[in-house]
């Protein structure tokens, strides 16, 4: 008996581009979302919160129908780590791979399951609650059977998407967001394939396999899931696949096997549709691919095919749409340059989107004129960097930083032993050789062009920057060590901006104000704005001890003492002419 475990198949999206005119009356929606799975609901949640005109179409009578059937053995392979030892909600999402993003703290998966690998039934329940609690506009039992394009100059994208459901009802949509997943099974064809049982229909009762020899085609997640469930009752299980077993901790790709369960692994050119790094279809403007089907952007690299990845890419798509169609620029916070180091340290320590979608989504810092201020943009699809200005509505005229998370170049690859000797790097000087996921900051004087992005050096996520900085890896992903992490970052930023980004106490700023014509940014933006930082006695003492501060009170003492010496003639008091000096020098010489 055989079993086809590779059930993923090329996207079953039937997009016929027939241009016949729409029939009769139809309902218009600005945004139409196909599928009420995790990605569809996630998009709906953002559209809903932004107050957009949208509709979700779902074939099944409830959300997340995939999870009512799959995985066949009901155990999800996405982790639900409820206790991380940290209170930071954003950080905790790094260990919560099932929740969608919302402002409702109750809509976190940890309220739905206690299991580390939760049951698929909990996911169904979660998705239902997500749609209901947020009041998302989902039309169930609606199967979109036909999609056509209708050219219209007034349309946002030059055409409308005309959707027809199984009852012949017609919808006109300005933007079409496809979140249907990849649910068509992969058909195998070889002599004897008629004996194969597909993963989609294989029995989940181990009793059915008692005493049999089983051949499993594929060594992905579904194959191992099946194998594990029948392991106890069979004679032999053979597993066969085109490629070696890839363990996710060796490839740091969550689609590879984690703890000997999970994965896909066939040629993705067939499996995934052609889309841009902005998740927009290369063929039709206004058509976006969300969720699992969007995995081609980062296939085998990042987590874009999984809930914990695409919840962030969906948000990025939403932000792009907000700017494109509603003139709302990409959200950002603006800060004085003195906050530059802080902003980066804060994000790399807590951001989940950066962490999950490493190499795909990156934070962008846009410098303002004279580099006194900057704008911080979160989670921008980094392959679209060249088009940043048009896509976000933010200007990058004065240089920019990109914050990305990266594994070391030596880390990955299915053949490599990730526990190789010396794999961790402890010295800041060797930070660039860090192997584990660590923040990397790119500095560009000018926004790279499309050419530069396309023809970037091999294995580089971005074009060659003006300067680059690696924050040395940390096993606990805690990048807050004053000397190990923050200091080298500050030096890097200082050298990029050619300024001094140190912080100073008010007393130092006071001294600088009265003894220099220029002030460091910290004094300018803090002290002179009457927000100087006052030191305390204890801190002052440490400062004197470390020689970074001077004890002016005792300095006076020393000088006063010396001025009381009998030989001292209060040198400055008598203003003597130059000639006088020579005379006295001459007489001195004679004495000597």
């Amino acid at each position: 008996m055989g079993l086809s475990a590779a059930f993923w198949a090329p996207l079953g999206l039937l997009l016929s581009l027939a241009l016949h005119p729409a029939l009769g009356t139809h309902t218009h929606r600005d945004y139409c979302v196909l599928g009420a799975g995790p990605a569809g609901l996630q998009m709906a949640a953002f559209l809903h919160r932004a107050g957009r005109d949208y509709q979700v179409f779902e074939r099944a009578p409830a959300p997340g129908s995939f999870f009512t059937h799959y995985p066949r053995h009901r155990k999800l392979i996405s982790i639900n780590k409820r206790y991380t030892g940290r209170d930071n909600a954003e950080f905790n999402l790094r260990h919560d791979w099932n929740s969608l993003l919302s402002h409702d703290p109750w809509l976190l998966f940890r309220h739905y399951s206690r299991a580390y690998f939760p049951d698929a039934g909990d996911m169904v329940r979660y998705l239902r609650d997500f749609a209901n609690r947020l009041g998302l506009h989902v039309q169930y039992n609606t199967d979109i059977v036909h999609v056509t394009l209708e050219k219209d100059r007034r349309a946002w994208n030059g055409h409308y998407f005309i959707l027809t459901n199984q009852k012949g009802q017609v919808y006109q949509c300005s933007v079409l967001l496809v979140a249907t997943g990849l649910s068509v099974p992969n058909q195998v064809d070889f002599p004897g394939s008629e004996y194969a049982e597909g993963y989609e229909s294989v029995s989940v009762d181990p009793e059915d396999f008692v005493g049999q020899n089983v051949l499993i085609l594929g060594r992905g997640n579904s194959a191992f899931e099946t194998a594990e469930s029948i392991l106890g009752v069979t004679n032999f299980i053979h597993m066969l696949s085109r490629s070696r077993v890839r363990l996710s901790w060796a490839t740091h790709y969550v689609g590879d096997l984690r703890s000997l369960r999970l994965s896909s692994g066939s040629k993705f050119s067939k499996k995934y549709p052609l889309i841009r790094a902005s998740y927009e279809s290369k063929g039709s403007r206004g058509l976006f691919i969300l969720g699992t089907a969007s995995h081609s952007v980062d296939y085998r690299k990042s987590a874009g095919g999984f809930i914990h990845g695409f919840r962030y890419t969906v948000r990025a798509v939403h932000r792009l749409l907000e700017h494109r169609h509603h003139g709302i620029a990409w959200p950002c916070t603006e800060h004085p340059i003195t906050q530059l180091t802080n902003s980066i340290i804060r994000r790399v320590n807590e951001a989940s989107g950066l962490y999950q979608m490493f190499g795909v989504l990156a934070d962008v810092i846009l410098l303002k004129e004279n580099a006194t201020m900057f704008e911080y943009l979160e989670e921008f699809p980094m392959q679209m960097l060249a088009q940043l200005e048009t896509l976000t509505g933010r200007m990058a005229k004065h240089g920019l930083f990109i914050i990305n998370m990266e594994y070391g170049k030596n880390f990955s690859g299915p053949d490599k032993d990730v526990f190789f000797h010396d794999r961790s790097v402890g010295h800041t000087e060797d930070a660039w050789q860090s192997n584990f996921l660590h923040p990397v900051i790119y500095y560009y004087r000018h926004l790279p062009t499309e050419q530069e992005v396309r023809f970037r050096p091999a294995h580089w996520p971005l074009p060659r920057p003006t300067a680059i900085h690696h924050i040395v890896e940390d096993f606990l992903t805690d990048w807050t060590a004053p000397v190990g992490h923050i200091l080298p970052l500050r030096r890097f930023l200082e050298n990029c901006l050619d300024t001094d980004l140190r912080s100073f106490y008010a007393e130092s700023c006071f001294l600088f104000t009265l003894t220099r014509q220029k002030l460091p940014p910290f004094c300018q933006q803090g002290y002179l704005q009457m927000q100087g930082l006052v030191s305390t006695k204890s801190l002052r003492e440490h400062g004197v001890e470390s020689r970074l501060l001077r004890d002016y009170a005792t300095m006076g003492q020393v000088l006063e003492d010396s001025s009381q010496q009998p030989d001292d003639h209060e040198p400055v008091r008598h203003t003597l002419a130059t000639g006088h000096l020579i005379q006295s020098l001459d007489s001195n010489k004679e004495e000597l």
Binding site: A89, H335, I345, N349, E350, A431, R464, I468, T480, I486, L487, P488, R491, E494, D500, R502, S503, F504, Y505, A506, E507, F510, L511, T513, L514, T515, R516, Q517, K518, P520, P521, M530, Q531, G532, L533, V534, T536, S538, L539, H542, G543, E545, R547, L549, Y552, A553, M555, H569, P571, V572, R573, H574, T575, L576, T578, H580, L581, L585, N588, K589
Partner: protein
């Protein structure tokens, strides 16, 4: 130049230097059999071998130390090996007993010396001994004064001599001297002694330390004349000796005719200041003699130059006879008027403290250590991290508690991030406030760590740390915008106990409010009480005033009175309604200002202006308020409170508007000790006080000093200011206009990454690395002309350069082999 010295020397003494190619950085001590070892010996190449029995313990102290010495010896082209005396193939160098093992130094296959293992007690000893043996001809070891005089006589008129005393052979000082001899051995005659008596007899003091003298013998033509000597003041380290020799090599006196600010010599690069003796054509000869004299006195402490005033393009203050330039880049030059040579010497010596201290401490540091914290806030917070703070006096909030807490009681919230130094520094002040308010305030002091609860902070619109907000029932939260310190925050909290503006309900109460009785305890926080007077119908005027009051929350006391009988007050203070009464509690004066048609923004401006004093004591806290006026500051520096006569003189001038565009103020060194640092920057030395200075902060950065021989009176000041404005006075100094550049370089990861990949990521020619090396060497040759960082970078380049040079040597020596 060191480079030329060295290359000549290295070709003479060590013919071939190959080891660097053979052994990479991490190579441990190679272990060889005797036969193998002798087959590796190359003619002219020095090698140190330690012979031991194969079965002896592999980690003896000697081996450990030898292991460490591999790198340093390699730098001198000396290879190191451990030779295992196996039973079957013994060598005569293998001792008979296990504990009688020795190390041998060979050049080629000729034995130079053997060392008992106890002589090789540490790396310093190993390097010192080996170099000492190799440089036998270059370094003369002597024991008597006679020896010294003989050598001195032979070099007179020919070469200079470096004489050093070290306490023992094998000490770190000995190693430093030998390393210097390795580089400079052909240029200078090195003489070494370990005899204290010899040192005493040439008149040294403090003989417990190692000493190094530079004997200026080359200048001596007459054999009867003694060589002039210069004692090196710093401890004997390789680096210090190198710097010292460099300075000795520099010309004693240089003549310059350019802006002293722009001049740079080897002295500056080595962290020594420059002294310019100002010279005029008429008196050139005398000044030149003076300068030479000063130069000898300051040799090793400062560089001395003769500044030719007549051919100078820039203007220097008229009476200046000495210009002093510190080694620190950013410090402006000082124009001095000094009476005699001794004051020049003492000025230099008094201003060298910091430099010396740094030097002695950092003598071991090899690279510019980018990992050393140079942020005063980060460093002090880090050093203080273990001191327990009474944190329990403030309530630590969590996400769940936050809304409950701030809605249930009036609270102050400090938003901070546990990893951020500025936050943590301010937390200390915040806790101090809590200590001061303990049991006295109805305001709840809380804090929330945004590193944990970032969502809460973002929701409260806090994206920068630290931030303080006040939450009061029924009011919008107020952000604190004052100094991040105990006093200002305390003032903010105290003044917020009453509403702003507070509603006054009776004439009686209004009078009490104005004379400070009503809020007696708050007067200390607000020297000004503001009362808005309105008739009950003036709604818009009242709204504007209320808005202004809200804006000034926590800065100043504001009150509002708009009862029917408001005219009583209006009459009393001769105010036309609506009006503002400003009561200054210091002098008990009440001023009235008409408010008709004034908008909130302008009311805020009026009150802020009123908060400024005519002749304030300038402090760290209030300088920004006066600095904002964009006017030159006329500062009276005073050690203690200001003399009432001076105060009166300046106030009179101010009232009569005779101070022009200047902001008069005074600085009390008792309250603001950092004022001493300011005086030092202006005058070099701390001048006698009191003292009046005019600082043009905003335009030219010029500083003028009121002549200290004149008394501070109305007339004198006015006359001086008049001359000043007419451009008849010379400034004493100009404030540095230096930009704030990165204090240290960053790691250049990009080139580190390039260096490892054979192909340059951008596809550029792989010659890129070589190119930078070539630049490096070129830079080395021009180094004297450029102002570069001091010792650390210097060392780095020495190391770098050595590598390159050896590399070249190696290439040369390898070429014939290739042809074969």
């Amino acid at each position: 130049m060191m480079s030329s010295d060295f290359s000549v020397f290295s070709t003479e003494v060590f013919f071939v230097v190959i080891c660097i190619l053979y052994t990479s950085a991490e190579d441990p001590l190679p272990e060889l059999s005797p036969q193998k070892y002798f087959s590796t010996l190359q003619p002219g190449k020095a090698s140190l071998a330690y012979f031991c029995h194969a079965d002896s313990p592999s980690t003896s102290v000697v081996l450990e130390q030898l292991n460490e010495a591999v790198r340093p010896l390699q730098d001198y082209g000396i290879s190191v090996a451990k030779v295992n005396c196996a039973k079957e193939e013994t060598s005569r160098y293998c001792g008979k007993e296990k504990d009688l093992m020795k190390a041998y130094l060979f050049r080629g296959n000729i034995l130079l010396r053997d060392f008992p293992t106890d002589a090789l007690f540490d790396v310093n000893a190993i390097v010192a001994h080996v170099l000492f043996a190799l440089l036998f001809n270059e370094v003369k070891y002597i024991t008597t004064l006679e020896d010294l005089q003989n050598i001195e006589n032979t070099v007179k008129g020919k070469a200079n001599m470096i004489f050093s005393y070290v306490r023992a052979i094998g000490t770190p000082e000995h190693r430093a001297v030998m390393e210097a001899a390795f580089v400079y051995g052909t240029t200078y005659q090195f003489v070494l002694t370990t005899e204290i008596g010899l040192l005493e007899s040439i008149g040294s003091e403090e003989i417990e330390h190692a000493h190094l003298y530079f004997f200026h013998c080359k200048l001596v033509s007459d054999l009867t004349e003694r060589c002039r000597r210069t004692l090196m003041g710093q401890p004997l380290t390789t680096l210090n000796i190198h710097a010292f020799v460099k300075i000795m090599k520099a010309p004693l006196l240089t003549e310059v005719a350019e802006d002293p600010q722009q001049v740079s010599t080897v002295h500056l690069q080595l962290g020594l200041p420059l002294v310019f003796i100002v010279s005029q054509k008429a008196t050139y000869e005398a000044e030149r003699r003076t300068a030479e004299w000063v130069a000898w006195r300051l040799l090793g402490k400062a560089g001395v130059l003769l500044l030719l005033r007549d051919s100078l393009e820039v203007n220097i203050p008229q009476h200046t006879n000495v210009v002093f330039k510190r080694a620190e880049k950013e410090v402006p030059v000082e124009f001095l008027v000094l009476p005699d040579i001794d004051s020049i010497i003492s000025h230099v010596e008094n201003n060298m403290h910091i430099e010396e201290a740094v030097e002695s401490e950092d003598s071991d540091v090899e690279d510019p250590d980018m990992d050393i914290q140079d942020d005063e806030v980060a460093e002090t917070v880090y050093r203080d991290r273990k001191r327990p703070l009474p944190l329990e006096l403030t309530v630590e909030l969590t996400e769940e508690m936050f809304n409950r807490t701030v809605t249930a009681s009036d609270s102050i919230v400090l938003f901070y991030a546990g990893w951020q130094a500025v936050s943590m520094a301010f937390l200390q002040s915040y806790i101090d406030v809590a200590v001061k308010l303990k049991g006295m305030s109805a305001m709840l002091l809380t804090r929330i760590n945004c590193a944990d609860w970032s969502d809460v902070c973002t929701k409260q619109n806090v994206t920068e740390f630290p931030a303080v907000k006040m939450y009061k029932k029924g009011e919008n939260p107020v952000s604190y915008a004052g100094m991040l310190g105990t006093e200002d925050l305390l003032k903010f909290i105290q003044l917020n106990r009453i509403s702003c503006p507070v509603t006054i309900t009776s004439i009686q109460e209004a009078e009490e409010y104005l004379n400070g009785e009503l809020y007696e305890d708050l007067i200390t926080y607000s020297s000004l009480s503001v009362l808005g007077l309105f008739s009950p119908t003036m709604t818009t005027a009242k709204e504007d005033f209320t808005e202004a009051g809200n804006h000034l929350k926590g800065c100043v006391l504001t009150g509002i009175y708009s009862e029917e009988d408001v005219w009583i007050l209006a009459n009393k203070y001769a105010a036309a309604l609506p009006a503002l009464l400003l009561a200054r509690h210091k002098d008990g004066k009440i001023e009235s200002i008409p408010l008709a048609g004034t908008h909130a923004q302008d009311i805020v401006q009026i009150i802020t202006d009123a908060l400024r004093e005519a002749f304030p004591e300038i402090t760290v806290e209030n300088l920004p308020t006066y600095f904002r006026l964009q006017k030159p500051l006329l500062i009276l520096f005073s050690d203690g409170s200001v003399n009432p006569q001076y105060r009166k003189a300046i106030l009179t001038l101010a009232e009569e508007k005779r101070l022009g565009s200047f902001t008069p103020c005074w600085l009390n060194l008792k309250n603001t000790p950092v004022g001493r640092g300011i005086l030092q920057a202006y005058f070099g030395l701390l001048p006698p006080l009191p003292l009046v200075v005019l600082v043009n902060l905003h335009s030219s950065g010029q500083v003028f000093a009121f002549p200290s021989d004149q008394s501070i009176t109305e007339q004198n000041l006015a006359l001086w200011l008049k001359k000043l404005e007419a451009g008849l006075e010379n400034h004493i100094t100009i404030l540095s206009a230096q930009e704030w550049k990165p204090p240290l370089p960053a790691y250049d990861f990009l080139s580190m990454m390039d260096a490892t990949t054979t192909q340059h990521p951008t596809g550029k020619a792989p010659g890129c690395v070589k190119e930078t090396y070539a630049q490096e060497i070129e830079r080395e040759q021009h180094e004297d002309k450029r102002a570069i960082r001091k010792e650390p970078a210097e060392t780095l380049r020495i190391k770098h350069w050595n590598r390159n040079n050896w590399f070249k040597e190696t290439e040369k020596s390898l070429r014939p082999h290739k042809e074969l």
